[in-house]
């Protein structure tokens, strides 16, 4: 009898609003501790929350893009527990009437696709951070993050492997970045997830007891943590023991999960409707406006790239898979007539450089504008493809202007046939042996002459013109 794995994910997505969910405090990342905190974020006595409509609009975009129900009346509840980085002693969240319910998203794993249902997506405020390593024997609290809007996306327990879980997380990340509701930055904690894992025998109707793995923030760790947890649970049951319902923490250094607290120790959060906030009502007009302004999604882009721009399917898929790549493609394409050339460079040389440096395109030195100019210089014959490669490498290192590099290094392609003919004649004169061998039928030597001319011109000769001139002269 084989084991079946049942996984559900709760993904916390930090929404990219300017201000916090219930205050005017800034949500900017990386500021000095406790500088982006206003009276409300501190939970001072007497302060009251006011809901940020922008966060609702962003949540609704997610709902619409996943074909979900949008609750035009949604409300807030309090989740009560004590922790130093939770200033009010409760978190304001949406328990009973979440803004988004019942959506779904398609994931692709190796050779198959699958639809994962989304139970709900609700708004809540993030907590601050406890800092344990800054002060000897004391804990610091940084409230900059406190009150940042989160969209908690809860999947149905329909994910069957660690790989599917990663694919699901990637699909959500792709979607929220395309929707422009989250920057998708995992390293800064803009997306974090809790994973519920249980196992059961294939023909069991009921789900097994689950363990919840807390706060994992990289694709790699999700996969490792889940695989460790599946093994652990199978071992337990095969040894005749039981899986207990508990919260477990994944230790990436040891690659193991360990118990944080059991069900008995779990908080009773004493949820109840937040009396400080009236239900938030989204009008038909607001909903219509959000619908009309919904950004183009990856699948739509892919189809457009193939049908309207004429890209290959594989190129279209790669470029539309990431928001930053698609942005670069569209910006550079607008600077040139040759969109297919843009695609070729993105999928080829630029992807190779990105992989080498392991960065995202918006972290590179290449701006869409500079890239557009590079493509333009190739298509108007100013530089050859080969020269363009070295220009790209220079831009990659220094972020210099493409035209400046071409000018300062004298990389403009030699097009003038009389100049090229003079050089070709010189090359033929100084290599009589090779000329006779070529004329005797050693065709391969043609490349030798091209090479010599390129050497003389430091690669700036227009290869097409060189070919024609040589053919003439060597007849």
């Amino acid at each position: 009898m084989s084991w079946e794995t049942v996984i559900g994910l709760e993904i916390h997505v930090q929404l990219s609003t300017k201000s916090k969910l219930f205050s005017g405090g800034s949500t900017e990342f990386g500021a000095e501790s406790n500088t982006h905190v206003d009276l409300i974020d501190m939970g001072l006595p007497g302060v009251l929350p006011v809901a940020n409509k922008e966060a609702f609009y962003k949540a609704i975009r997610f709902g619409l893009a996943t074909g979900a129900n949008i609750n035009q009346t949604s409300s807030f509840d309090r989740k009560n527990y004590f922790y130093p980085d939770l200033p009010k002693g409760y978190q304001i969240t949406q328990m009973t009437q979440p803004i988004v319910e019942k959506g779904s998203i398609k994931i692709a794993v190796d050779d198959y696709e699958k639809e994962i249902n989304i139970t709900r997506a609700h708004l809540e405020e993030d907590a601050g951070k406890s800092i344990h390593d800054m002060f000897e024997g004391e804990t610091g609290v940084d409230l900059n993050r406190a009150g940042t809007p989160l969209l908690e996306i809860v999947s149905e327990p329909e994910i069957s492997s660690a790989k599917e879980a990663v694919a699901y997380f990637k699909a959500i990340r792709q979607l929220v970045t395309f929707l422009d509701i989250c920057d998708g930055n995992m390293a800064q904690g803009s997306m974090r997830c809790d994973v519920n894992v249980s196992i059961k025998k294939s023909d069991d109707k009921e789900l097994g007891t689950r363990a919840e793995l807390k706060n994992i923030n990289s694709f790699k760790f999700i996969e490792k943590a889940i695989n460790f947890e599946i093994d652990r649970q199978i071992r337990l049951i095969e040894n005749g023991e039981c899986v207990v319902q508990e919260t477990r923490l994944y230790d990436s250094e040891k690659n193991e999960t360990r118990s944080m607290r059991s069900k008995e120790e779990a908080n009773d959060y004493r949820y109840f409707p937040c009396p400080d906030l009236l239900p938030v009502i989204i009008s038909d007009k607001e909903l219509k406006e959000i619908k009309e302004n919904l950004p183009e999604l990856p699948e739509e882009k892919e189809i457009r790239y193939i049908n309207e721009i004429g890209l290959d399917e594989s190129e279209a898929k790669i470029i539309s898979s990431s928001k930053t790549m698609a942005n670069m493609f569209e910006a550079a394409s607008s600077k040139t007539d040759d969109a297919k050339l843009v695609a070729k460079w993105l999928v080829g040389d630029i992807s190779a450089l990105l992989n080498k440096d392991n960065i995202d395109i918006d972290e590179s030195n290449l701006s869409a504008e500079n890239f557009g100019i590079l493509i333009e210089r190739i298509s108007d014959g100013t530089i050859s493809g080969k020269i363009a490669k070295s220009v790209l490498e220079e831009v990659w290192e220094t972020a210099s202007d493409v035209d400046e590099i071409i000018q300062s290094k004298g990389l403009v392609q030699i097009q003038d046939e009389s100049i090229l003919e003079d050089i070709a004649k010189k090359v033929i004169e100084s290599n009589p042996n090779q000329v006779s061998a070529y004329k005797a039928g050693k065709d391969k030597l043609f490349g030798f002459f091209v090479g010599q001319i390129m050497k003389e011109t430091q690669g700036k000769a227009n290869p097409k013109a060189v070919n024609e001139i040589l053919k003439d002269l060597l007849q």
Partner: protein
């Protein structure tokens, strides 16, 4: 109000502080704001202002945050708390020219009906030094009744303006929920709390209420409705106006004098042309139990922020986080506050939520519906404010239920969010007692009109305790 054409603002303020000092044993104030107040009065003397309440000394309940001025909420846990901002109510009154002379004593976190739960000691009633002033706005009521200040702010979650107004013989109004911004009011039970003025007369209350009310974007429960001029209707005729008499309220358990006082007042209104109409509020008897589920539930959550981490007191000798919470909250809160946090945590806990909190919210809806039905045919509802006059300090100390029943008549207006006021309507054994008038949603004007007309015809509001200068 006070017309001070002949004396300077500074002299008025100085007189206020000399009275406060003279009647210090009333313990009506926790913190005084003397230096600032005198400075403000001097500024007014130098640059006379035509603001509606220019120079009026006012006592602020110590539950409103006042920027730079200690705000304790009557609790040890906020003993050292100096807010960096002011409540909207404070700003509104000061922008209208009021001078905030100090912060009045109160039951801890407004939980109490006798002012005996204050960390800063109980307040005395100027009508008898062994009597409670009522609560939780006991310091405010005592200060106004003793003539220390002409006006004070209070807050009312289950009767905390009306009950002390009744026991101290002054006039106080709790407006419709949402009329006055809660921004900067330290929350007890957010869905019930409402601030209002306490003064000698209904007319004074109208002046004050005009300035206190505002639509505030910082409080999403604050109402966006037009705010009328509350003075405008004060003198309207009561002819043909209809007073609802709640036949479901059993007055037989009350002292005969209380019932007689109440009935005399009703006759007074009849003589002004008003009609008495029997009405039914079938669920009103459920008000007290409903309140004692909803209010503690909200308070148990609202008071979680007092944990010793960010502001207020922190226990000195805690060894770890758990101990920091336990010791800070054990030392910082008094018994009544702890009792309500316990009740509140219990009614919200998994497995009990449906039976208590959810049920209470349903009953609350029924009570509100009862009022809505009743107000289809009447203009106001009248009841006694309290079951009797001021009781002796310590006399109900060990029986929280007896204390909770103090609010029998007042609580339903909070549950339904309706405006309600108390005004003096008699004296029993030289102790004042009040009449409650409950109005329809947003209809403060009508209850102020009834109260003002009553005060035109009677002089119960002019009675002052013996030995108090006026």
């Amino acid at each position: 109000m006070i017309s001070h054409k002949e004396i300077s603002n500074k002299e008025v303020i100085q007189e206020v502080f000399s009275l406060i000092n003279e009647y210090k044993d009333l313990n009506a104030f926790i913190t005084l704001n003397e230096e600032n107040s005198i400075k403000k009065a001097e500024e007014l003397d130098n640059n006379p202002s035509d603001l509606p309440l220019a120079g009026i000394p006012i006592a602020q309940k110590d539950l409103f945050c006042t920027e730079g001025l200690r705000t304790t909420c009557g609790s040890n846990i906020l003993n050292n708390f100096i807010p960096p901002y002011s409540a909207t109510v404070i700003e509104n009154l000061e922008n209208a020219g009021c001078i905030s002379v100090g912060k009045t004593n109160m039951d801890e976190f407004a939980m109490g009906s006798s002012n005996e739960t204050s960390f800063f000691g109980n307040v005395k009633n100027p009508w008898g030094k062994d009597l409670v002033p009522g609560g939780s706005s006991g310091g405010a009521a005592s200060a106004v009744a003793a003539g220390l200040v002409p006006a004070a702010t209070g807050t009312d979650t289950g009767g905390s303006i009306r009950q002390p107004a009744s026991l101290c013989g002054i006039t106080g109004i709790k407006p419709t929920y949402g009329r006055v911004s809660r921004w900067g009011m330290i929350a007890f039970a957010s869905s019930l709390d409402q601030a209002g003025p306490m003064a000698r007369t209904a007319e004074d209350c109208a002046f004050l209420l005009n300035e206190m009310c505002s639509h505030d974007e910082k409080d999403t429960t604050s109402l966006d409705n037009d705010i009328p001029d509350f003075e405008e209707n004060l003198n309207s005729s009561l002819k043909e106006k209809k007073i609802g008499i709640v036949k479901d309220l059993d007055l037989s358990s009350l002292n005969n004098d209380v019932v007689e006082t109440y009935q005399n007042s009703l006759k007074e209104f009849e003589s002004m042309g008003a009609q008495l109409i029997d009405i039914s509020l079938p669920n009103i008897s459920l008000s007290v139990p409903t309140y004692y589920v909803v209010a503690p539930a909200e308070c148990s959550s609202n008071l979680s922020r007092f944990d010793g981490v960010k502001f207020g007191m922190r226990s000195e000798d805690a060894k770890d986080l758990e101990e920091l919470y336990v010791k800070t909250r054990s030392e910082g809160f008094g018994d009544e506050v702890k009792r309500r946090i316990l009740i509140g945590s219990y009614v919200l806990s998994a497995g009990y939520y449906d039976a208590y909190y959810k049920k209470a919210q349903q009953v609350r809806r029924l009570i509100k519906n009862d009022f809505d039905n009743a107000f289809k045919t009447i203009d106001v509802i009248m009841t006694p404010t309290t079951r009797g006059p001021a009781f002796k300090i310590g006399s109900k100390g060990d029986d929280p239920i007896q204390m909770y029943l103090e609010d029998l008549f007042t609580i339903s207006a909070n549950l339904a969010g309706l405006p309600a006021m108390s005004l003096p309507n008699g004296n029993i054994e030289n102790k004042p007692i009040g009449l409650q008038i409950i109005g329809n949603f947003l209809d403060e004007s009508t209850i102020l009109n009834f109260a003002h007309m009553f005060q035109n015809e009677t002089n119960w509001h002019m009675y002052t305790p013996e030995g108090i200068k006026q």
